[in-house]
Amino acid sequence: MPSVMLKKNAEGKLVFYVPKKDLEEVAESVEFDTPEKWGGEVLLSDGSKYYFEPIDGQPDFPVTLRAKRVDSGE
């Protein structure tokens, strides 16, 4: 259950940062990413997947949220 700091970069893409792991990745896709609902599985550019409890509405980025690791990619 890592704490993940999420922010939007200049291109409007989601940047995923896990301080303890020095992991700084751009998210490829977010399962639910609409104004009404946000969360679900997030796929990172290195192939790893994390899961966020879906919430109503968009979080106010940048924000720190708890994520569950789904699989580590390769």
Partner: protein, 493 residues
């Protein structure tokens, strides 16, 4: 000597690793790599921020060094108590050359050493009473101090003193910020965790002091310079450029900085990060809490300075963008003259670096501006996000070494034969005795500043002064002729 190919560099790493026992070899192999620009992520080729192997000569520092020496120490109007035995503070006192303006001992305390000088009885019975007494004495002797930080040394964590309680009590008594920092040297694998702990202490004890207080008049052009420790005056050379382009520098973290500046930082519009490694934590925190964006910049060498000024200006309006162009144009003749003077003397020279957490990648541009090539670089305490940023800066097939050991560094130098080495004081005399020109790149070898356009002129002069110094020709003993040394190199190759 011609540049090594990828295969040769890989072979060199294998050869150097040969001397280690099996387990150590396996472990060290993960920290040495050949740069490959096609890689997106450094974790494919290098492991970093791991515990140093017992028995090797590591060059790292400790968490106390990261907190007291790097982050907190330069805050000039606070008194930083080295809480514990006397040595940690005394032998690191004033060594980092963080310049500041002020009268030392009256309103600024940068080069002084304050310590609780632990004795046996403090270890046995605890040092909290002593600490409380010291803070009252400080208040009496140095009434113009603006706050106190308690920098823990190893015993504090071992005996379990409650410095937070003492700090809270003292804060009520003297009415100034008193910040306990749990930066015991044994925490973490290097000084890097000390930076993080120091950042967290600032976050918890300082940053929110002026929340809800809007008395500070702000402008749309307020910025904070974060992670510039003013070594040899670096922050001043950076600050002038930012001010000339029309920005207002509200705070300097932490070189020549004050606690008031730090408390005002949440009011700025943009945080500018120079040393990413030591202060990205607080920038990320401010981004989340106060919605202040941050960007990294690099003020080493005219190419990178121009790039950074434009990158910063792009986040503001046209007046600042025009300001950036004006600044670049203003200094153009100056830095062109520097390059014209020194480039012919330094062209094609090869450099190996081994520094702390930002310079191994940041100074590459400055060397390239002078026509020099960086053929090896490495961090004492960098993390993988630092190496991610380094891969693109370094040429293909160059050496990258993390937490390099004394032995490995020497062997690399013997084989790569750089014309100049940039590293710290612990490495300096080894390489000078080997007859290799050396610059101390932590404290600029008692020179500086190296940041900004003004700094670049000094940087170029210093590199030339060291590299082309006639003394290097005198290092070889007369009975060792050039012929024998050539044979040795050929045999080793």
């Amino acid at each position: 000597m011609a540049a090594l190919t990828k295969e040769e560099t890989e072979a060199l790493i294998q050869e150097v690793l040969e001397i280690y026992p099996e387990q150590a070899k396996k472990d060290r192999a993960k920290h040495l790599a050949v740069n490959d620009q096609s890689l997106e992520k450094s974790n494919k080729c290098i492991t970093s921020n791991r515990k140093s192997l017992p028995g090797v000569m590591t060059i790292r520092g400790c968490a106390y060094a990261g907190s007291k020496g790097v982050v907190w120490g330069p805050i000039k109007d606070m008194i930083h108590i080295s809480h514990g035995p006397v040595g940690c503070g005394q032998y690191s006192r004033a060594g980092r050359r963080n310049y500041y303006v002020g009268t030392t001992g009256i309103n600024t305390f940068g080069t002084m050493n304050f310590t609780s000088d632990f004795q046996e009885k403090d270890i046995v019975f605890g040092g909290d009473k002593k600490l409380a007494k010291i803070m009252n004495e400080i208040e009496e002797l140095f009434p113009l101090n603006k706050g106190i930080s308690i920098q823990s040394e190893c015993p504090i964590g071992l005996i379990g003193d409650d410095i937070e309680a003492v700090a809270k009590k003292a804060n009520k008594e003297i009415g100034k910020p008193v910040v306990p920092v749990r930066c015991e040297g044994f925490r973490g694998v290097s000084q890097s965790l000390g930076h993080h702990i120091a950042n967290d202490a600032i976050r918890d004890w300082v940053l929110e002091n002026r929340d809800g207080d809007d008395s500070f008049p702000t402008t749309p052009y307020d910025v904070a310079v974060i992670g510039d420790y003013n070594i040899g005056g670096d922050a001043w050379a950076s600050r002038t450029l930012l001010e000339e382009m029309g920005l207002r520098v509200v705070a300097q973290w932490s070189g020549d900085g004050t606690i008031a500046e730090m408390e005002k930082t949440p009011k700025v519009k943009l945080n500018l990060i120079h040393c990413y490694r030591s202060m990205n934590y607080i920038a990320r925190h401010m981004e989340e809490k106060y919605k202040i964006p941050w960007i990294e910049y690099n003020f080493f060498g005219p190419t990178k300075i121009a790039e950074s000024l434009r990158k910063i200006a792009a986040l503001f309006d046209e007046t600042i963008q025009a300001g950036a162009e004006r600044v670049i144009a203003k200094y153009e003749a100056e830095y062109d003259a520097v390059i014209a003077k020194y480039k012919p003397r330094l062209q094609g020279k090869r450099v190996m670096l081994y520094i702390g957490g930002l310079r191994p990648r940041h100074v590459i541009g400055a060397y390239e501006d002078l026509g020099m090539e960086v053929v090896g670089t490495g961090y004492e305490f960098g993390h993988n996000d630092d190496y991610d940023r380094t891969i693109k800066e370094m040429g293909n097939a160059t050496l990258i070494y993390d937490d390099v050991t004394g032995y490995e560094f020497e062997e690399f130098v013997k084989r790569v034969q750089p014309d100049l080495i940039g590293s710290g004081v612990k490495e300096k005399y080894i390489f000078q005795k080997m007859g290799v020109p050396f610059r101390q790149m932590h404290s600029w070898d008692y020179s500086g500043p190296y940041h900004g356009y003004d700094g670049f002129a000094i940087f170029a002069r210093d590199m030339d002064m060291t590299l082309n110094n006639p003394c290097w020709k005198q290092v070889k003993v007369p009975w060792k002729t050039d012929d024998t040394s050539k044979v040795a190199v050929a045999a080793g190759a």
